[in-house]
Each structure stands twice: as C-alpha cells, then as structure tokens.
Amino acid sequence: MGGIRFILIQNRWYMQFDDDEKQKLIEEVHAVVTVRDAKHTNFVEFRNFKIIYRRYAGLYFCICVDVNDNNLAYLEAIHNFVEVLNEYFHNVCELDLVFNFYKVYTVVDEMFLAGEIRETSQTKVLKQLLMLQSLE
C-alpha cells in the first residue's frame, strides 16, 4: 500500500493512530527534522517509513510516505502545495496559517485525498477554493 501516511504542519492523518501515538509521532518527527540543516538531504528514514520535508522560513512541511515512494515527486508536491497556499493567502506567512487553520485543511483536502495526490493544477485548486470561500 503506497501513499502518504500523514502530512504535518497541519496534521492530516491518513492512517489510524491513537491520540497519544499521534502526539508522540509529532514530537519524534519534529525532533528528527529540526536538527537537520542545509547540508542534509530532504529525506529522512523514520521508523519503517520515510519523511519528505521542506523548510520554508520558520515552518517545516513534512509528508510521511512509504519507503517505496518517489522522493522527488513528493518533494515537488510539497512545493506545489506551498505555492497554492501562497496564492490563496496572498504571500502567506506563518500567522496566516495559524489563524486560518481550518482553511488550510480545506487546501490540503483539495490537493490530497485518501493519502494520494488529487489535484495538481494550481489554477484549478485556487478556483475551487474561491468557490468554497464564497459559500461562507
């Protein structure tokens, strides 16, 4: 079974974990990822999965995938996602994500579903997001 296990910055879980397991995982991933710097690759082996992560200013965006998945493709997916966030929030910054956390979930759910990549066209995703927003 391939695919994404969980996405972290906003925690979207595609696999079953207990609440305490989730907390523990979050802490572990955080510990593993924040000690790395520009000299390291963007891939970390983690338990029996691997984490693809990318750092933007002060935020780490992490995706946890199967060991057989294509690292470079998911790296691209992270970047795609961040670019959409950027467009949607107009030069996004960390506070935007915090105060609009539920909107971020919506973006995630537009681009990823059931642990797979869903929509890759930034234009399409933004159109859909604006449409949803108008319903508020």
């Binding site: 891939f43 790296l75 059931a114 990549i117 890759t120 399409k124 319903l135």
Partner: protein
C-alpha cells in the same frame, strides 16, 4: 432627598452571567500571548469550560464557532472528545458553514475505534445524494479520511454513482474515495473495477490521476485485476506519450514538465503491469526510452519523472541497452549538485549493483567521490556501494580510497567501514603481504571498531604465511611500540612477537629497514602491555603467553621472564593467575618439556575463501607437529596433562588401554581386520561414559570427499535430578593424528533431560593410523566437582581405516 426610597424593580431576570464567547481569532491570539506552558493551559482550560457549557446549553447559532475553537485547541494537543456529538449536530445542519466545521471536526475527532463514528453515516448518505457539489465534496472528503469498513460498505453505492457524474470536481474526489474504500473493504474492488476502463478515456488530468491511482490499487490487491488491466497498457503508453511530446495543458505544467505527478503515476502503473510480463514490457520499451531521453533534467520536477522511469526500466523485462541507459541516468544523477538527487541515485544503484554489476562499475569513480559527502545518509550509502563494487581488478585502488576514508570518516561509520575493508581484503587480496598490510592498517586506524574475529583471522593469516613471518613481526613490533591502546592490534602483535621473537632479533629483513632491537627492549614492551591499564584481560593473557614463549626463543637467560611470571601468580584476575601458576610450574618442574611445549604453532585448517590453499600448507606443516589443538593459548597448559597421560603407561587412567603403547609411538592395530576400504554405511554411535545419569556419546562422520578427515560429535546428556555445570571436555590423540576441538555449544546440561551439550572434534588421519582417543571430563554435579579421565574403548574401526 433624604428619606426618599428608590424602588428597584425586583423582578430578577434569570440572566446568565456569561462573558460573550470569544471569536476564534481572539482565542488564538490569547493562547499565543501566553508566556508559559502553564499559562497557556490555564487559558485553554477556561475556554474549554465555556465551550462545554455552551454545548450543554445547545446554542445552535454559535455552535460552529465553539467547535472551531475546540478543534484549534485539539490541534495543540489538548483533549477534545466532548465535542464529538457536536460534530454530528453540525453535520446535520443545513448551513454550509456548520457542515464545513462539523465535517472537519469529524475528520479530526471521530475515528473508527469509537462507535460514535457510525452515527454520521446517515448524514453522509444524505449529503452525498442531495446534489450540492461543495457539500457532496465535504462528505466524500470525510468518508475517505475516516471512513471505517462498515461505513464504506454502506456508502459504496452512493460513491459509485458519483463516479459517473458529469462534474469533474466530484468525480475526482469520488475516485479517490473509492481507493480508500477498497483499502478498507477489498471486496468492493468488484464494484469499482468496471468503471475504470471508461474513466481512462477522460482528458481531465485530475480524473486521470485518480483513475490511475485506483487501477494501481486494484492491481496491487488482486492478480486477476492485474491480468485484466494489462490490456490497457497500450492506452497508458499513448497517454504518457502525448504528455511528454505535446502536453495536454499548460496549467498542469511544473517547471516546464507537463504534469509530472501524472507522469510519475502512469510510470508506476506501467511498472506493475510490465513486471514479469514480456509482452507488456515490450510495448513500453520505446516509450520509456523516449521519456528517459527527452525529459528536461534541469529542475527537480523533471528529475522526479526521470527517476520513476529508471525504477520502471529496472523492474520490467527491458532490453539490455535500456537498462544501461537507466544506470547511466543514475550515474549522471550522482554528479548533480542537488543532494536529494544524489541520494536517490545512490539508493537505487545499491539495489542494482548485484544484477547489473558491470553497468554500475562504470560509475565507480563518482561513487567513491561521494564518500566525502557531509550528509551521513549519503556517505553511508556511498560506502556500501563502494564496498559492493570492489573486485579483483580494482581492489588495490579501491582499498586505498577506502582506507583513506577510514581515517577521516565519522565514528558511526567506522565499524562498518573497517569490517567492509577486512571482508573485501579477504576475498580479493592479490598477495598475502598486501593482505597483512591492509589488516594492519585497519587495526592501527580503527582498532577498537573491528569485530572480534579479526584477531583470530589475522593470526591465522600470518601463521600460514611462513615467508612473511619476519616481515609481519617487525611491522607489528613497530606498530606496538608506537601505540599500545588498540586492543586487537596489541593482541596480534603480542602473539606474533611471542611466536617469532627470534626472527625479530635477527635484524635482517629485505622488505623493511633494518631494525635494531635487543632482547631487553622486547621484554620491556611486553611488560608494558601487561601492566597497562588500557589492556583488557584477554590482551594481558596474550602478553603473558608471549613472554613465556620468548623464554625459548631468546638467547639470554630467562630470569626476567621468570620474575614476571612469578609476580602474576598472585594476580587478582583468575585467568591470568592460573596461567602464571602453570607457566611457573613449567619453569620449575617441567623444564625439560618447556621447549617442546612452546614450539612454534602448527598451521591449522581454516574455513574461508583461501582455505584450500592453506589446507595444503597446513598438511605439510602438520607432519612436523605434535597433536595440536585450535590455536588458542588457553589450551596449551591444559594439554600438558593430557600429553603426559598419553605418553606415560597410563597408570592413572580409569580404563587401562587394551595394549601397552610404547613411548616411541609404534603403531599397534587394535583390531585384526583386513585392509578393506570402509563400507559407506554410517558409523554407529558409541556411548563412552556414564555416571549418575550423566552420559557421553560419540557419533562419527567421515565425509566421503575427504577420507583423511574424521568428525566426532560428542553429546553430553543429563537424566539426573541435578544440573551439570562448568562442563569441559578435552581430548588427546596419538602423535601421528591431528586433532582440532571446536567450541562447545555450552557448558551446562540442565537436569532431567535438559538441552545437551555438543562439541565437534575434527581429526585428520592421513596415514590411516589406528584411532585412539583419550578424554578428560571436568564438571560440577550435585555440588561436587567431578573429574574423569579415560581412554575410549571399542572405537569403531570404520572411524580410521
């Protein structure tokens, strides 16, 4: 005015003194304003109390806001289970704002382990069929995130309907929801398989992407589905080709590559379909070559596609030329300035190095360069790959690189590097001297990281190379004089100096500069090792024995050695003490035997890639030797007793031998049999000893390919009520045979039929001399120490004829 009363309306309205509930933004600000963890907790607990009260009072207007706040708090790690029911209420509401938060709450708070989750099934069913796209989208999203198996079964028909709807927005979600459902309920594959072929005709990228993912999931789960979908390979090839050459749409282009995600997904599916299937593989060959050569490699997106292509090429039945192309792509990746790309290249090359060895060899220089990487995950892979690429033609060059790496590599890689070098040296050493040099270098650079058998291996290696004794002992002496802290090195050096001390003092060796050493220096060095606090007990054992051996190798008198040995008779370490006492006894009572006991070691048969060559050498050396045990010092002193017994007319033995052996070792036939070759029937076992429930059995094997070899397995069993502990068995054979004892399986036999001890004896009997075997058993039983010495009677003649 005084006296005037003012009446207040005293009808008290039931006014709830509740502060107006915070907006989400305000709560977030307040939490972020907290200076400490405790303060944050306080803020949150206060707010949660409000939220709980609000839920109890059932305020529908603000419910969504309360839940949103609760979700934020939950995200921070605080408990929020009391909001679960509120999710249900919100989902059931007709307002989009409510539904939105409600579904989000369901995804975050409800999971299939709580029965409550089933309650939303009905709401989802309603929402899925009421035709408002955003709402249907929410429902699908929620279902695919937390839908349990029962929910999936219930809602499969609704999702199936949505697959065929005109709106792409919903179809995309429905397809991936189907993927989730199949994962939860594999039987649903039959529902979702039929629409796939039709969906593949879509031009919408999102739908295609979902469909391919769905097909992939179906194929991975069922070989029948796999077979079924092989027929769409041509179609997939066509889709990918169009993507690569013309590109469907610019809005899916990333860094100039058309929808790399779709390409990657198609390539993955092709891989699954083409694996182990000639026909499909052939259909894809051209396309793969095309993608491999035409994809733009300047940015990560292109490289992602290229990487997936390489993986596919290597996994299916591709033409040889295509495979080489793939390996070359990986080789190019190794030169890429992007570390991530180097990483995937190294990982993949490692997987391919066995199957496509010569193709990978071409990139060896680049791989070796990667040893210098700063990221440990990269340098580790580079090390593994480099070691896998060593072969007999490049061994000298590679070892140089690897040894240079060993000197500077990070500590966690040292052990692997050292053992990798030693292993490679063992397999490919061009000359013995090179081999010895290599091991020496590893021991000096990374001595503490080598495995335990490195010492044994090196001593055997040196022992077997007679022409290199002088060279080895000199080099080891020099190394030891410089540094006595690396234990494996010290042990080997001590052993060597003990064995070949005479060569050390001769002063002449063409291969290194002449070394002027005198006896006092050598003894001083060994004493230094003995006394150093850095030396392990085993090391000190080596040093003491070496000193002892030097007593016969050196010219001068032995007073110094005798003194040292004498001092250690009262050493606190029991092992050392015992040796010292025995050596001292050797000086005092058995001085006439000392020279014979301390003679140079015979060569021993060794398991390993060079065993055959060495076996020949050892057979020659064996003619000169006495019955020799495995080359460990501890047996030397214990053998003393046995030789004694075998030589003398065995007055102490429990079972006197049937015939009187003459001290010269003249052979006497034990049994009067014609010299016919032994029948190939298995040799019967022999029970040789029994005492109070402790029994010893011998079983014999003569391997047909080596007639001079006899393998005896002794088995010690215990049927008594008391455990047998500290069991040691020793053996001796006549001089013309060679005996090697392997380590026993243990030294305890638990009572009442507990796990027996087994031990293997290897006996070389090239002259087919009659076999005689004397055994000495020591063990503890019923709180008593037992010692038994006896000669084995009735040895079957097949064991030696």
């Amino acid at each position: 005015m005084p006296g005037q009363r003012v009446f207040l309306h005293s009808r008290t309205l039931p006014v709830r003194m509740v502060a107006p509930s915070l907006k989400l933004q305000d709560l977030i600000e307040e939490i972020r304003g907290a200076k400490t963890q405790a303060q944050e907790r306080e803020v949150i607990q206060k707010e949660c109390a409000h939220i709980r009260a609000s839920f109890r009072d059932g305020d529908p207007v603000h419910r969504h806001r309360q839940l949103a706040k609760l979700l934020y708090v939950h995200m921070l790690g605080y408990p929020a289970h009391f909001g679960q029911m509120e999710c249900l209420k919100l989902i059931a509401s007709s307002r989009f704002t409510d539904k939105r938060v409600g579904y989000l709450g369901a995804m975050l708070l409800l999971d299939e382990r709580h029965d409550a989750h089933l309650l939303i099934t009905n709401s989802i069913k309603n929402d899925l069929s009421q035709g408002i796209q955003p709402v249907q989208g929410l429902a699908l999203c929620t279902l695919s995130t937390m839908g349990s198996a029962e929910m999936c079964r219930d809602l499969a028909p609704e999702v199936e309907k949505l697959l065929l709807q005109p709106s792409p927005y919903l179809r995309k979600k429905a397809i991936l929801t189907a993927v989730h459902m199949i994962r939860k309920v594999p039987e649903l594959s039959s529902v979702f398989l039929p629409p796939c072929v039709h969906l593949l005709h879509e031009r919408h990228h999102g739908i295609l992407l979902g469909t391919i993912t769905l097909i992939t999931e179906l194929c991975e789960r069922s070989p029948a589905a796999l077979k079924h979908f092989r027929k769409v390979v041509p179609q997939l090839v066509q889709i990918l080709r169009t993507l690569v050459t013309t590109g469907y749409s610019t809005e899916h282009s990333i860094s100039g590559v058309s929808d790399p995600f779709l390409q990657v997904q198609i390539l993955r599916l092709l891989r699954i379909l083409g694996r182990n299937h000639e026909e499909s593989s052939e259909t894809m060959n051209d396309l793969l070559a095309q993608v491999a050569t035409n994809t733009d490699t300047s940015r990560n997106a292109g490289n992602a596609v290229l990487f997936e292509t390489v993986l596919t090429i290597m996994d299916i039945h591709s033409a040889a030329g295509l495979r080489v192309l793939a390996v070359n792509i990986l080789g190019r990746f190794l030169l890429n300035s992007d570390r991530n790309i180097r990483y995937v290249a190294l990982t993949s090359l490692l997987r391919l190095v066995q199957s496509d060895h010569s193709a990978v060899q071409r990139h060896r220089p680049t791989v070796v360069d990667c040893l210098q990487e700063t990221d440990a995950s990269l340098s580790r892979r580079a090390l593994e790959l480099s070691l896998a690429l060593v072969n007999s033609s490049n061994v000298r060059a590679m070892m140089q690189e690897l040894q240079a790496f060993l000197e500077s590599c990070p500590p966690d890689l040292r052990a692997d590097c050292a053992s990798g070098i030693l292993l490679a040296a063992e397999r490919f050493a061009p000359t013995k001297r090179w081999h010895i040099d290599t091991i020496l270098h590893v021991l000096t650079t990374a001595g503490t990281h080598v495995r335990d058998d490195a010492v044994a291996n090196l001593t055997q290696l040196i022992g077997g190379a007679q022409e290199l004794h002088a060279y080895s002992v000199r080099r080891l002496y020099n190394a030891l004089a410089e540094d006595i802290s690396q234990q494996p090195l010290v042990q080997v050096a001590a052993w060597c100096i003990g064995e070949y001390g005479d060569l050390l003092l001769e002063g002449n060796c063409e291969e290194i500069e002449p070394l002027q050493v005198d006896e006092e220096e050598v003894l001083a060095l060994l004493e230094k090792v003995l006394q150093s606090h850095m030396s392990l007990p085993a090391t000190r054992g080596y040093a003491l024995t070496a000193l002892m051996k030097l007593s016969t190798r050196l010219q001068g008198d032995n007073n110094r050695i005798r003194q040292v040995v004498s001092i250690y008779r009262s050493c606190l370490d029991v092992e050392l003490q015992q040796r010292a006492v025995e050596y001292d006894t050797l000086f005092q009572k058995y001085d006439h035997m000392r020279a014979a006991i301390l003679e140079k070691m015979p060569l021993v048969e060794r398991d390993g890639p060079q065993a055959d060559e060495e076996a020949k050498q050892s057979k020659e050396a064996a003619q000169l030797s006495e019955a020799a045990p495995a080359p460990t010092e501890s047996q030397a002193s214990q053998l003393l007793d046995l030789l004694d017994l075998l030589d003398r007319a065995s007055g102490d033995a429990q079972h006197p031998p049937p015939l009187d052996p003459s001290p010269g070792g003249a052979l006497v036939y034990l049994l009067d049999l014609p010299c016919a070759p032994p029948p190939p029937a298995p040799i019967p076992d022999l029970k040789v000893f029994e005492r109070e429930g402790v029994q010893l059995n011998l079983s014999f094997i003569r391997p047909p390919e080596n007639p001079a070899l006899l393998l005896i397995t002794i088995t010690a069993t215990n049927s008594s009520e008391g455990d047998v502990t500290n069991f040691i068995c020793q053996a001796a054979v006549p001089k013309s045979l060679q005996l090697q004892l392997q380590a026993p399986s243990g030294n305890t036999v638990p009572a009442r039929g507990g796990l027996p001890i087994t031990q293997l004896f290897r006996i070389l009997n090239p002259n087919k001399a009659p076999l005689r075997l004397k055994l000495r058993l020591t063990y503890n039983h019923f709180h008593q120490s037992v010692q038994e010495i006896f000669e084995v009677n009735n040895l079957p003649v097949e064991s030696w004829q």
